[in-house]
């Protein structure tokens, strides 16, 4: 067990090192300047831009910059974001919890809804419920995500005013509110972005879960369970689901890291400044330290997420774990 853990850790470090190096190398080829957009005023002389580059060490040769950057990283310093005039750690510290909240809520909602839909579809296999949800979930996967978000914002937000258009909280000093009010306000603002994201997650989960359930339903032990006179719901939920949910959890575990940065368009449309938007803005601003930090974080999350999902899948599905 310990040996496995150490091996995993070493693997994770190796992966991070490869990512850091390749991103750094890639960025060397990107045209642009960390100060191009920040200092775009009509009368900013080139000398001021040159000073800026020198201040943050962008004028050094790439090799030296890389050495400096990795050195700082080893000491736990992520550097300074020139496009935001803030420490990278602060920027990431703001953005990461927001994304984890958004993605977390969307995953929980989407997973629950998706599994629920799949159960209904399995129960009513080949009947209208199955077909209806089949079409809906197919649409949920096939529709471009940003369009769903835009439609939700325009109609549910701006037109019908059912939910806030954008933002992460109401006006006022949230620190002074009672805890429940803060939670309600947060969920209220999460409704559209998390809903739009959850729609996509639920559709994918439902499609995979349905397929997995139908596969399991053919197994002998299901027939045995039925023969014992158990109700159909009972058979599906108690017997089929535990054996069919493992692959879906694994799928989610794989999806999580890319969701952390991949919600960029949803974050952008709903003014939810999380990691995706931060990385996107950093890419456009050529804010190298911020890009590197965000990418490393995503890698780290991927490694963690995979380990956790593997553990969860083993825990949930002991039978599968014993299979070769």
């Amino acid at each position: 067990m310990t040996r496995q853990l150490v091996a995993r850790l070493l693997h994770a470090i190796a992966v991070c090192a490869v990512v850091a190096t390749s991103v750094f190398v890639l960025l060397q080829f990107a045209p642009g300047d960390p100060f191009a957009t920040a200092l775009d005023g009509a009368d900013v002389p080139p000398s001021v831009r040159a000073e800026g580059r020198a201040r943050y060490g962008f004028d050094l040769p790439p090799g030296e910059r890389f050495a400096r950057w990795t050195g700082a990283l080893v000491r736990g310093e992520l550097g300074y974001s020139a496009s935001r005039h803030r420490a990278v750690a602060d920027v990431v510290g703001d953005a990461l919890p927001r994304t984890l909240l958004l993605v977390g809520v969307a995953l929980v909602l989407g997973f629950a809804a998706g599994v629920g839909i799949a159960l209904v579809q399995t129960r009513h296999h080949r009947r209208w419920q199955d077909r209806l949800f089949g079409v809906l979930t197919l649409g949920g996967v096939a529709m471009p995500e940003f369009l769903v978000a835009l439609l939700a914002m325009t109609w549910l937000g701006a037109r019908w005013r059912l939910f806030p258009v954008a933002g992460i909280g109401s006006l006022g000093d949230a620190a002074a509110w009672p805890v429940w009010e803060r939670i309600v306000d947060l969920l209220w603002h999460l409704a559209l972005p998390a809903g739009a994201l959850a729609l996509a997650v639920a559709s994918r989960v439902a499609r995979h879960q349905r397929a997995a359930l139908l596969g399991v339903m053919r197994e002998d032990y299901i027939r045995t369970a039925r023969a014992k006179g158990l109700g159909e719901w009972n058979v599906i939920v108690r017997h089929a689901l535990p054996n069919a949910i493992g692959p879906v959890i694994a799928l989610l575990g794989l999806a999580l890291p890319s969701l952390v940065g991949g919600a960029v368009l949803i974050e952008r449309i709903f003014g939810w400044p999380g990691m995706g938007l931060t990385l996107f803005d950093a890419l456009l601003a050529r804010d190298y330290p911020l890009i590197l930090a965000a990418v490393l974080l995503a890698t780290l999350l991927a490694v963690v997420a995979r380990t956790v999902t593997e553990a969860v899948a083993e825990f949930v599905v002991p039978r599968r774990a014993r299979e070769p």
């Binding site: 900013v44 933002g167 006022g172 000093d173």
Partner: protein, 555 residues
């Protein structure tokens, strides 16, 4: 009007000037003004502010010594409105301006604003370790001395017509009593700059970057408390979201409505649009040099007659009406109509496809192989146009340009890149042509930066490296002219030279329309700074919203 000729007049004007006090009808109305904005401020440290949102916030937090008046004159000091300085006077040689600070002016922590703050700010702005963005604007200022705490004396190195403007428009006095103990290099990250103490009509409350920034009315403001209780800025990167917030009633004000936004304005009149000029102009810039070899003249665009022919092929009225409907005007030359130096009587190159065709034919560009594209000596009349992916109107203009060029046998391809790459290639000259836009300032000096022959003192943004001696000379004369009328005549000549030489096709000048909720009453919006009168804006007490009660907490 140059100071040394009109000193007496200026003096009289200054003494007569009343401080910017609000009238009796300007009692507070309460309410929180919520502004929906696209980009956040990158910093609140005034010397480092480069983007427009940073300017909005810092200029609500901090007062300048004096501000340009509604006429937006930048020569001498005519029309300037007293702010922190109650009055000022010129020395006989016009090399010194003495500002008398308003004794009532206070920092938000209650300390008086003193001349030392002006002196300190000047030092910070000109310290290369700070890296102030607008440092060049203060190049003609030698020093600031402090005869007494209420008097700041500014010594100029040389007389220029815009010396007063350059100093007062750029420099924002900073609270020396809070900052002077810090080394200059530490200022940009100082906690004081995350929760700034200013001198203006609004106090800082809180800032969550890229999300929200809150200000509250400064009840102790020496020129009278703002009428609203506070200002909150909400940020969203997506343009549609910025407008949606206004349409949903979550915000009261949007700086600029885009043409598609107008189709969405509700029928009940809850949201209205108010025009306020605009300081931008957009053009198709021709690179005079080769995109790959910066030392070689561009094989097509080096020919003035060809540039004129291309200009004649473009129907700018159609472009403006298609992209903007009535929300823009065709551009005239290297300026915006809102600048005082604008001249609408120039002789431009009219849209005339038959002339364009004839000119192209006579220049030897003919479509001999009938593939729809003209060629000369076997080389097709084709070029690529760089467009920033961040600007929808410019992309739309490019699509229309492409079709219009095609109609006269010119093959234009579009290259959209992200803004950073766009700027990078612009600066390196790695493009054939580009749809470029300029946000001008009231001063005509920017013209020199964009269109002057590239050199140490001008042309820093002249990406097409166009060079015209007549233009340079006339502009020099204008910027040194001793009378406004002379300056106008020279500038007109310079502009005409530019239009005749066609370094670019002048496309459009967007008209800015602010969107606002009907409960909000604003005065006239200044084209270069819509926020300059926010302290006088009011919210109808009968139309209060629940969110107004959630006032930003005063720190």
């Amino acid at each position: 009007m140059i100071p040394h000729l009109s000193r007496q007049l200026a003096l009289v004007l200054c003494i007569a000037a009343v401080t910017a006090c609000r009238g009796t009808d300007a009692s507070p109305t309460g309410g929180i003004l919520v502004v929906s904005a696209g980009a956040d401020a990158e910093t609140l440290f005034p010397p480092l502010v480069a983007g427009s949102q940073g300017r909005v916030v810092t200029e609500l937090l901090y007062d300048k010594l004096a501000d340009v008046g509604p006429a937006l004159n930048t020569f001498g000091d005519v029309g300037f409105v007293p702010k922190l300085a109650r009055s000022w006077e010129w020395s006989r040689d016009s090399l010194t301006v003495t500002f008398h600070l308003d004794p009532r002016a206070r920092w938000h922590d209650g300390q008086p604003v003193t001349a030392r703050d002006v002196q300190y700010a000047f030092r910070v702005w000109t310290d290369s370790a700070v890296g102030a963005v607008q440092r060049a604007a203060l190049a003609t200022v030698d020093s600031v001395s402090v005869p007494d705490p209420r008097t700041a004396r500014v010594h100029f190195r040389e007389r220029t017509p815009e010396q007063f403007y350059a100093f007062t428009y750029t420099l924002i006095p900073l609270p020396a009593h809070l900052l002077a103990s810090l080394p200059d290099t530490a200022l940009r990250d100082a906690p004081q700059m995350r929760s700034p103490v200013g001198s203006g009509p609004f106090r800082f409350v809180s800032w969550t970057p890229r999300t929200r920034l809150e200000l509250s009315a400064n009840a102790a403001y020496f020129a009278g408390r703002p009428r609203v209780d506070g200002v909150v800025f909400l940020f969203a990167a997506q343009g549609a979201t910025v407008a949606a917030r206004l349409l949903a009633g979550e915000a009261d004000f949007v700086e600029q409505l885009s043409p598609p936004d107008f189709a969405q304005l509700p029928q009940d009149g809850a949201v209205r649009a108010q025009p306020y000029g605009g300081f931008d102009y957009t053009f198709l810039l021709f690179n005079q040099y080769d995109a790959r070899d910066a030392g070689r003249p561009h094989s097509i665009f080096v020919d003035r007659a060809l540039r004129r022919a291309l200009t004649a092929a473009i129907d700018r009225t159609t472009i403006v009406r298609s992209v903007f409907d009535s929300l823009a005007r065709p551009a005239i030359g290297p300026f915006s109509r809102t600048q005082w130096t604008a001249d609408t009587t120039l002789t431009g190159i009219a849209f005339d496809p038959s002339t364009a065709t004839r000119m192209l034919d006579s220049l030897g560009w003919r479509d001999a192989n009938h593939d729809g594209v003209r060629e000369r000596d076997g080389r097709p009349l084709a070029f690529s146009v760089l467009v920033p992916a961040s600007s929808r109107p410019r992309q739309a203009a490019a699509v229309l340009l492409q079709a219009q060029f095609k109609a006269v046998g010119v093959a234009m391809t579009i290259e959209q890149t992200d803004f950073n790459a766009f700027l990078d290639r612009a600066r390196r000259g790695a493009f054939d042509a580009m749809v470029s836009g300029v946000r001008t300032s009231p001063s005509p000096r920017g013209v020199q930066d964009w269109w002057g022959t590239p050199g140490p003192d001008r042309g820093a943004q002249n990406w097409g490296r166009w060079s015209n001696a007549e233009f340079d000379a006339q502009l020099d004369s204008a910027l040194a002219a001793s009378r406004v009328e002379d300056a106008r005549a020279h500038i007109r000549a310079a502009y005409q030279a530019a239009v005749n030489d066609a370094p670019a096709i002048w496309l459009y000048e967007p008209l800015f329309f602010a969107g606002m909720h009907r409960r909000l009453t604003v005065g006239a919006l200044r084209p270069d700074a819509w926020w300059s009168g926010v302290a006088d804006w009011s919210i109808d007490p009968a139309q209060r919203l629940p969110r107004d009660r959630r006032a930003p907490a005063t720190p």
